[in-house]
């Protein structure tokens, strides 16, 4: 297992408005300093820079993402979804509604499907995360990915990563035994294009094919 200790913070910076960003950092630093015991205050006052502000805001967390262990530094309010997309550039996982209503953000945490938009990353210390990027074995697509292509299980494709992650879990859970059961257990994944009949066909093929998922 590869262990990455690279500082991910450098990658996380998006193009931004310096003035606003600086203001936010300074104002949150001031808030932090006001609430800080004197001993810490002295240390912080000695280094009035952005790094200090970040130390106050961020929490260390170790996650294993797609079989790679990563030591990260994350603000408590960052969801797993935003961590994946904004800091780690794993943009396969999609933000649909951001309120747990559409399933586009579905990933596996310790093998169990969850909505990454409703999960704070800092609460997942030590967990194993699998996203759509981690499903294929090298160049070989996962059987569910192949089945979605074969059965045209999408139109615009935006819900597809979540559909596939959910579909894999649906088969693993043993909830893909009939069309009705698949529809019930895939109901947490909404497809605006209405590709449902083909999604069901893809899942049935994988289930009936008996391949290891």
């Amino acid at each position: 297992m590869e262990e990455q200790k690279a500082n991910k913070e450098g990658q996380s910076e998006q193009p931004h408005n310096d003035t606003r960003r600086d203001f936010l950092k300074q104002s949150s630093l001031l808030t932090a300093l006001v609430l800080t015991p004197p001993t810490v205050f002295n240390a912080a006052a000695a280094r009035l820079d952005e790094k200090v502000a970040e130390k106050f805001e961020k929490v260390p967390v170790t996650l294993e993402i797609n079989r790679v262990k990563q030591k990260l530094s994350v603000e408590p309010r960052v969801t797993l979804l935003d961590l994946l997309r904004e800091q780690l550039n794993l943009t396969g996982t999609k933000k649909g509604c951001d309120y747990g209503q559409c399933g586009a953000c579905t990933v596996h945490v310790d093998g169990v499907r969850v909505n990454s938009c409703l999960t704070f990353a800092v609460m997942l210390d030590g967990k194993k995360i699998t996203t759509i990027e981690g499903l294929a074995e090298g160049d070989e697509l996962h059987p569910m990915q192949q089945a979605f292509i074969k059965h045209d299980g999408f139109q615009c494709g935006y819900c597809t990563p979540g559909q596939i992650m959910s579909a894999v879990a649906c088969v693993r859970e043993g909830h893909a035994n009939s069309e009705a059961e698949i529809r019930e257990y895939m109901s947490g994944n909404i497809c605006r294009c209405g590709a449902y009949p083909n999604i069901v066909k893809a899942i049935q093929e994988v289930k009936n094919g008996g391949q290891k998922v």
Binding site: R77, V112, L118, T119
Partner: protein, 333 residues
């Protein structure tokens, strides 16, 4: 989302201490309702106490010969637990009628009790809502109130409690075990949630320093004669317009005990034990079920968009009780 600090609790006492010593602090476990409320600033805790490491995950037998559900057991773990499926199928069915597979994997049993209403106006900061901002008024009473309450509501609030699981727990007469600064206490399920009255900002009777540690199910799970019926706007992944948990203890065709709880109609799971008592020693017939349906909906009040719920609830009650008594199977036999 406003920024906040987060600490991890290692034991129940530590969690209670942490939540009471910090200003504007909340517990967080599954987070499936808290996160969306925080994203739109309806809930704005400045500190969260992460309780997911507490040893409250087990589902095991209790002293009463029933089952104790750890507050941190997930909804999925509970619904698929062997003993729950076998002895308390109405609970298993109710849980699986709610949310999605993903959400049930995340949501905990304690958190299910603590979820907030899905009233549109509660979520909309641009409109008055007495539950969100006491004294500001109720937008639902004269607004879009299709999903709102028909029983036990007040002029201040017509919101409903959204849980399916709680409807089954109400029917089963579960008990909620909590721990606070002053030690432990047990709250009968029907006394856990409250009606809105003039304090709709309070969903339940849990005190600010208290944490749910477990839920006790009594020995009788009504496994032979039960039903959970959920009527909603789409076939899956939608909150109930009306739901019914029905559980019967039968001797032949005679009812020895009846339990009936409604969801989607009130600020709490709705039971009327005095009406249930009238079914004792009665025959399981549609006529008798119709009578209890009328009794349950006595005094119900609908609004512009939800008056249909009154008749819908009556029909759902008759159907659920008929299903619990296996009436249709017997007619076909």
């Amino acid at each position: 989302m406003l920024s906040f600090t987060l600490s991890k609790a290692n034991d129940v006492a530590g969690a209670v201490n942490e939540v009471t010593s910090k200003k504007e602090a909340n517990f967080i476990a599954g987070g499936t309702n808290l996160l969306d409320l925080m994203k739109i600033d309806v809930m704005t805790p400045r500190h969260l106490v992460d309780i997911t490491q507490l040893a409250l995950k087990t589902i095991d037998g209790n002293e009463a010969g029933g089952l104790r559900l750890g507050a941190l057991a997930t909804n999925a773990e509970t619904a698929y637990h062997n003993e729950v499926e076998k002895r308390y199928p109405v609970l298993s069915h109710a849980i699986l009628a709610g949310a999605s597979a993903q959400l049930r994997n995340m949501a905990t049993d304690g958190g299910n009790l603590m979820q907030r209403t899905r009233c549109y106006y509660f979520y909309d900061l641009a409109t008055p809502c007495n539950k969100r901002e006491p004294g500001s008024g109720c937008s639902a009473i004269n607004g879009f109130n299709r999903i709102h309450a028909i029983l036990g509501q007040s002029e201040a609030c017509i919101a409903t409690h959204p849980s399916d699981m709680c409807v089954a727990l109400a029917a089963l007469d579960a008990k909620v075990n909590v721990t606070g600064k002053n030690g432990d206490r047990t709250i009968p399920f029907l006394e856990f949630h409250r009606l809105p009255g003039d304090k709709p900002e309070l969903d339940n009777n849990l005190q600010p320093d208290e944490i749910i540690t477990s839920i006790d199910l009594p020995a009788n799970g009504f496994a032979d004669n039960f039903a959970y019926i959920k009527v909603r706007d789409r076939a899956s992944y939608a909150f109930a317009l009306v739901s019914v948990a029905a559980a019967l203890e039968m001797e032949g065709d005679t009812i020895k005990e009846a339990r009936l709880a409604l969801g989607g109609v009130a600020h709490k799971p709705w039971r009327k034990p005095e009406a249930e008592a009238n079914l004792k020693d009665q025959k399981a017939t549609k006529g008798n079920f119709q009578k209890i349906a009328e009794a349950y909906l006595e005094g119900a009040k609908g609004y512009e968009h939800n008056s249909f719920k009154i008749e819908l609830a009556k029909r759902a009650i008759v159907r659920a009780l008929s299903q619990a008594a296996h009436l249709e199977e017997k007619e076909q036999a």
